[in-house]
Symmetry: C2
Subunit: 246 residues, 2 copies
C-alpha cells in the first residue's frame, strides 16, 4: 500500500505515458495537458462518482482498478466497464456521469478539467485520435462481453473472465507466459458476479468446480495459477485460437 508518488510536472516519468489518452502527444500538446491536470487518490471501496452526478473532469487511471456499473432500483447491479491503468474515464461533451464508478483497489487518477480538455480535443488531433482508438477498443471489449453475458454458461463465464484477466496482466507486463499463467485476481466474488451477470454463490461454486477439475489452482484467495492455458481457453467456449480483441 506504499503510496506511489508522481512528479506532478513530469509526464515523461508517468507509468502509463505510452498507453493512455496522451500516448501520441507531441511535447507542446503535453504541455497544454499538464496545465489542466491534477492527481486524485481514492481508497479501495470508495466511490469515485455516482451515476447522474455532475462531473467536471475526465481522467486517466494511473494505478489501481475501478469499475463502471449500472444499478436497477431493486438492487440488481451490472458492471459495464472495468478500468485498468491507462484506461480513460469520462466522456467529453457530457456533464453528468452516466454510471457509478467505484475504486476496487486504491486508485490514482490523472484528472483533466473537462472544459479545457474538450477544447484541446477540438484543436489538437493527437488526443482525439488516441481517444477514438481507445473508445473503439472498449467497444470491441463490450461486444465480447455481450457474448459472454448473453450466451455463455456460468462455467464458461468464469473461464472467460480468468482468460481476460490473464491476458491483460500479460499485456501489461509484456510477458508472454509460455504455457501456464499465474496472476492476481483483482476482483471480489461480488465484483465478478456483477461482471458476469451471476450471483456470488454461482461464482463461488464454479470456481470450486474449475479447481476440482484442475483447470485452475488457487494460492491463497486471490492468486490464480493456470497450469495449462489452452485448457482454460477450451473452457471459455471460444474457438481455439481465441478471438478476444483486448
Amino acid at each position: 500500500m506504499a503510496e506511489l508518488v508522481f512528479d506532478a510536472n513530469d509526464c515523461a516519468a508517468c507509468p502509463i505515458r505510452h498507453r493512455a489518452v496522451c500516448a501520441r502527444c507531441e511535447p507542446d500538446e503535453l504541455e497544454r495537458l499538464e496545465e489542466i491536470k491534477y492527481y486524485r487518490h481514492f481508497e479501495s471501496g470508495q466511490h469515485i462518482v455516482w451515476g447522474g452526478d455532475q462531473m467536471d473532469f475526465v481522467a486517466s487511471v494511473v494505478s489501481g482498478i475501478a469499475t463502471l456499473s449500472q444499478a436497477m432500483e431493486d438492487g440488481r447491479t451490472q458492471m459495464v466497464g472495468l478500468l485498468l491503468p491507462s484506461d480513460f474515464l469520462g466522456r467529453p461533451g457530457r456533464k453528468e456521469a452516466a454510471y457509478d464508478v467505484t475504486a476496487v483497489s486504491d486508485v490514482t487518477l490523472c484528472c483533466f478539467r473537462r472544459k479545457p480538455f474538450e477544447q484541446l480535443i477540438e484543436t489538437t488531433p493527437h488526443v482525439a485520435q488516441r481517444l477514438l482508438e481507445m473508445t473503439l477498443d472498449e467497444l470491441d471489449a463490450a461486444r465480447e462481453w455481450m457474448l459472454i453475458l448473453g450466451r455463455k454458461t456460468a462455467r464458461e463465464k468464469i473461464a472467460s473472465l480468468m482468460a481476460i484477466i490473464a491476458r491483460r496482466e500479460a499485456a501489461l507486463r509484456m510477458s508472454k507466459a509460455a504455457n501456464g499463467a499465474r496472476f492476481e485476481l483483482p476482483l471480489t466474488r461480488e465484483a465478478m458476479a456483477d461482471y458476469l451477470g451471476l450471483t456470488i454463490e454461482t461464482v463461488s461454486r464454479q470456481i470450486s468446480a474449475l479447481k476440482r477439475d484442475n483447470v485452475i489452482a488457487l494460492e491463497g484467495k486471490r492468486k490464480v495459477l493456470v497450469p495449462d492455458f489452452n485448457r482454460l481457453l477450451a473452457e471459455t467456449g471460444d474457438d481455439a485460437d481465441g478471438g478476444l480483441l483486448i
Copy 2:
C-alpha cells in the same frame, strides 16, 4: 420494396446527410469523401461480410437495417450491434471484419474505400470528431445492452427492446409520440432472441404475455401498438424517467 435511387454525386440530397459520419463535413471535405465512395445494395437476409473476412471498405448505412453478430462454434449466436440508417460500419485501422454483418431488411450502404478513408481521418478533423461521437454513443448503447443481457428477466428484456425501438423510431422521424406509440418491428423472432440472449420460444411467449396483459397490441405480425408508453417503461425495470441514452 421500390428501390431507392441515389444521385451518386450529390451528398446534399442524401437522407442521412445530417446524422452520419459525414454530418460535420465542410464542402471540401465532402468532395474528398465523394471521390472514394460508392453504393452497394444487399437483399434482406443476405450476409454483408463474415467475421474474419478481409474488409476493404467502411460504410454508412443509408437505408435498411443490418445486424452485427458473434457466433460460437456450437451455433450459439449473440447479436452485438444493430445498424440503422446513418450508423457506421467498420473500423478504421482494421483490415478484417470482427463480426458477421447481416442485412435484416434490404440495405443500401454508402461505402468508402478503407485506405483513403483512413488517410482522410488523419488529415481532416470533422470526420474523426463525428466518428468519435458516434462511437461513444455506441459504447453507451452497448453498456445499456449489457445491463439488459446480464440482469433483466425475459419479460423485462422484451419490454426494453420494444422501448428502444420505439425511441429510435421516434428519434428518426422527430415525432414525440404524445403518450402511446405505434411502430414497425423490424426484427424476426430469431433476431430478437439473438439480441436479447433468449430463445425464440421464450421471445414468443413473452410477447404473447405482454399482449395478454394489454401492455402492447399487435397489428398484423410486425406492427406494434403501445397504448400507454409509461406502462411499457414500467415493464422494462428501468427507473421511471428512463435513462436510455440513445
